[in-house]
Amino acid sequence: MDFNLTEQQEMFQKEVRKFAEAEITPLVDIMDKQNNFPHEIRPKLAAMNLYGIPFDPKYGGAGSDHVSLVLALEEIAKVAASMAIHIQLQQVVNDRFNKLATEEQKMEWMPQICEGKKVGCFGFTEPDTGSNPKMIKTVAVEEDDCYVINGTKRFITNAPFADVMCIFAKLEGDISLFFAETDRPGFSTSAKMDKLGLRGTDLSDTIFEDLRVPKDHLMGGKGGKFDALKDAMTIGKLCLSAQCVGLMQASLEEAIKYAMTRMHFDEPIFELQAIHWLLAEMASRLEASRWLTYRAAFLKDQGMDTIKDMAITKLFVTSTAVDVCRWGMQVHGAYGISKEYKIERLFRDAKMYELLEGTSEIQRELIVKRLPR
C-alpha cells in the first residue's frame, strides 16, 4: 500500500491550485452573483489540459489518470465549484465519445472539446424521470438516412451554450445513445434556470422536435445503452465527490480564518471548546472523504468495476459535504448568512451535489444490491 501521490500528480495538483487561485478567483462573482458563465476562461482551462485529463493525447487529452482528474477538480472546486461542474461535463461527454464513437468521430470531436472550442452537454434526466432512466420518454425513430428524435431533457448543464449533446433516447423500445450538434433544426433550449447553488453553470431544458441526426450519430449501435449510462454516471460520481472534497477544504479554511479573527468575550472564538469541536469534526470528515475519493479514482485507474465503490463514495462524500459546510456556517454565526462571507456560497453549492448523478437514496439502493450475501 502506498498513500503518497506520485511526483507528477503532486506537481499537477500544485499547478492547478495556482491556476485556480489566479485565474478562477476573479470569476467567482460573475458566476455566483450574476449567474453567468465566463466563456473567456475556456481557452485557459484548455491550456491547462483540464478538459481532457484522462484521455489519449492523440485525441487532445493529457494522457493522465483519474487520480489526477480528482486532484484537479478538488482544487478548482475549492475556488469555484460551478467551474468544476462545467469541466466535469466536458470530461463526461468526451468519455462517451472515447468509448462509443467511431475513430473518425473521436478525431473530430474530442480534440475540439479538449481545446475548449466546443462545449458538450449530456442528457438523460427528463421531466418525468430522473433517477430511473429506464422510464425515459424521449424516442428516436429510424427514417431513411437518419434518426428522428422527439422529447425533452431537464436540468441539462452547459445546455444553453453547448455545441454538441449526448442524448439518451428509446429506439425500438430499448435505450440508445445519440449525439447531435445543437445547431440542427429541431433542437432548442428553454430559458436558463435560476437556482440555489452552483450558479453560473448554465442549466436548462433541451427540447427535441423532429430533431434529425445522421445514422452515424447513433453511438455504439442500437440499444443496450443502460450500461453506458451507468458507466457515465460512475465517472460523474467520481467527479462530484472530488468537488465536494474541494468545497469541504474551502469551508474548513474559511471557518478557521473566521474563528481566529472573531473576538467574543475578549478572545477569538477559536479559543472556545464548542468551536474546537466543530472544526475537529469538519477536519476529520474531510480527511475521510478525501481518501475515499482518491481510492475510488485509483480503482477506476486499475480498470476495476467501481459501481458499488462510486456509490459508496458519492453517498458518503456528498452528504458529508452538506454537514461540513453547514458547520462552517455555524462557526461564522450570523455573518455566515450574509453575502459578505464566502461560506454562504459553499453551503448553497454543497446541497446541489446530494442530488446530482442519482440521489443519495438511489446510491443506497445500488450499494445494497451489491453487498455480499
Binding site: D194, F265, I337, K339, K351, E354
Partner: protein, 395 residues
C-alpha cells in the same frame, strides 16, 4: 392536568383563524414571511394592512393593562400567534408589539408609555432594534456605540449591525454606552428611543445569502436624541434588556407554521408520482415525514406548556431556551426534508419548474436565521446548562 382549551379559548381561536384565513386571501403573489415584509413594497404594504386589521380588533395589545388600551390575556396572544403562524401572516411588528411594548409597560416612564404605546397598538408605528454591533453579538455587553450627554440631548455615535427591517422602520430602540468608565461592561449602557429620520442615521443593506434585504448596518453619526427618550434609568439599560426574557417566548407561532409546511409537503407527496406511484408510498419518505410529525407534535405540546406557565408567571428562562433550540432545529429538519423530497426541483428558484412556489429553495437558505437569532443555539444551550441543570460555567 388538562390539555384542553377552555370553550372561551376555542371560540377565540376560531375567530383568530377565521380572520387570518380571510387576510390570507389578500396575500401578494409570492409572499413569503418576514423576508417579503421587508424586501418588497408589496410585502410591506400587506404587513401594514394586516396590522391595521389586527389593531382595530385590539389584537396588537393582548395582555396589556386596560388603561393603555390592553385587551385579553397572554393565552389569547398565544392562540392569535398560532393562527398567524398557520397562515404565515405578517401584521405584528416583532420589534414594536413583541419586544418594545412589554418593555415600556414594565420599565418606561408614564410619559413614554403615553407617547409610544398608542402607535404600536394602532399598528401605525413600526420599530427596529439597534443592539448588535460588529463586535458585540452574543457578547452584547461589549457594545461600544456611545452617547454623550450635551444639555438636554444625547449625541450618539457608532455602528449597529444585523438590524432587521431598519430600512423600513419608523423608530428604533437602541442600546448605547453612556458611561465608558463603568466598572463592569454591563453597566453604563442606556436604552434609548429615536426616530429613524433623525439626521445622522444612515442605513445600508446587508444582503442575505438568497439576496433578500432584511438586514442592515446602521451608522449613527452625531445623532441628537432628547434625554427624555430613554427607558429605565440612564446607565441601567442592561437591566431593561434582561426583562425581555419574561415575554412571550413559547414559539407557538413558529410551530404552527411548521405544521402547515409539513401538511403542504404531505399533500405534494400524495399528488406527485414517481415511477408511477405517489411519493407518499415511498417508505423512506413516509418514515421521515412521520418522524418529523412526531417532533412537531412534541414541540407544539411543549410550546403550549410554556405559554401556560408564562400566563401563570411560572416560567423559567431556560425553558424558553429549550423550546427555542427545539423549534430552530425543527425548522432545519423541515427545510432539509423538503429539499430532499423535491430533489433538483427544490433547488430551482420560483419559476415554472419549482413546486410549492419555490418555497424550499428559499427556505433551505432561511432556516438558519432562527438558529442564530435571539441568542444562538449554542448560547441557549449554555443557559440550559447553567440555569436549568446547574452545571458550572466554562468556555
Amino acid at each position: 392536568m388538562d390539555f384542553k382549551l377552555t370553550d372561551e379559548h376555542m371560540k377565540l381561536r376560531k375567530e383568530f383563524f377565521n380572520v387570518c384565513a380571510e387576510l390570507e386571501k389578500q396575500k401578494p403573489s409570492g409572499f413569503s414571511g418576514l423576508e417579503s415584509v421587508y424586501d418588497t413594497d408589496e410585502g410591506w404594504d400587506y404587513h401594514l394592512h394586516c396590522a391595521k386589521e389586527f389593531a382595530k380588533r385590539g389584537w396588537l395589545a393582548h395582555g396589556w393593562p386596560p388603561e393603555y388600551g390592553g385587551h385579553g390575556t397572554i393565552m389569547d396572544k398565544v392562540l392569535f400567534s398560532e393562527a398567524r403562524g398557520h397562515y404565515d401572516l405578517p401584521g405584528v411588528d416583532i420589534f414594536g408589539v413583541e419586544m418594545l411594548a412589554p418593555t415600556l409597560l414594565a420599565m418606561a416612564s408614564e410619559e413614554i408609555k403615553k407617547e409610544f404605546l398608542p402607535g404600536i397598538a394602532a399598528g401605525e408605528t413600526m420599530w427596529c432594534e439597534l443592539w448588535s454591533e460588529p463586535n458585540a453579538g452574543s457578547d452584547l455587553a461589549s457594545l461600544t456605540a456611545g452617547a454623550v450627554r450635551k444639555g438636554d440631548e444625547y449625541v450618539i455615535n457608532g455602528q449597529k449591525i444585523w438590524s432587521t427591517g431598519a430600512h423600513r422602520a419608523h423608530w428604533a430602540f437602541a442600546l448605547v454606552r453612556t458611561n465608558p468608565q463603568a466598572e463592569r461592561k454591563q453597566q453604563g449602557i442606556t436604552f434609548v428611543l429615536f426616530d429613524m429620520k433623525t439626521p445622522g442615521v444612515t442605513v445600508n443593506p446587508l444582503f442575505f445569502m438568497d439576496r433578500g434585504h432584511l438586514y442592515n448596518e446602521v451608522f449613527l453619526d452625531d445623532v441628537h436624541v432628547p434625554v427624555t427618550n430613554i427607558v429605565g434609568e440612564e446607565n441601567n439599560g442592561w437591566a431593561v434588556t434582561q426583562i425581555l426574557a419574561g415575554f412571550e417566548r413559547s414559539n407557538v407561532g413558529t410551530i404552527a407554521w411548521l405544521r402547515r409546511q409539513l401538511s403542504d409537503l404531505v399533500e405534494y407527496c400524495n399528488e406527485t408520482k414517481v415511477k408511477g406511484s405517489p411519493l407518499s408510498r415511498d417508505p423512506l419518505i413516509r418514515n421521515r415525514i412521520a418522524e418529523l410529525a412526531c417532533s412537531i407534535e412534541a414541540a407544539r405540546t411543549l410550546s403550549y406548556k410554556i405559554a401556560d406557565a408564562q400566563s401563570k408567571n411560572e416560567m423559567s428562562a431556560f425553558e424558553a431556551s429549550g423550546v427555542k433550540v427545539f423549534a430552530a432545529e425543527l425548522q432545519a429538519r423541515v427545510a432539509c426534508l423538503g429539499a430532499d423530497i423535491l430533489g433538483p426541483y427544490g433547488q430551482v428558484k420560483r419559476s415554472q419548474w419549482s413546486p410549492l412556489d419555490g418555497f424550499y429553495e428559499r427556505w433551505y437558505q432561511q432556516f438558519f436565521v432562527l438558529w442564530m437569532a435571539m441568542g444562538t443555539n449554542e448560547i441557549q444551550r449554555n443557559i440550559i446548562a447553567w440555569y436549568g441543570l446547574g452545571l458550572p460555567r466554562m468556555k
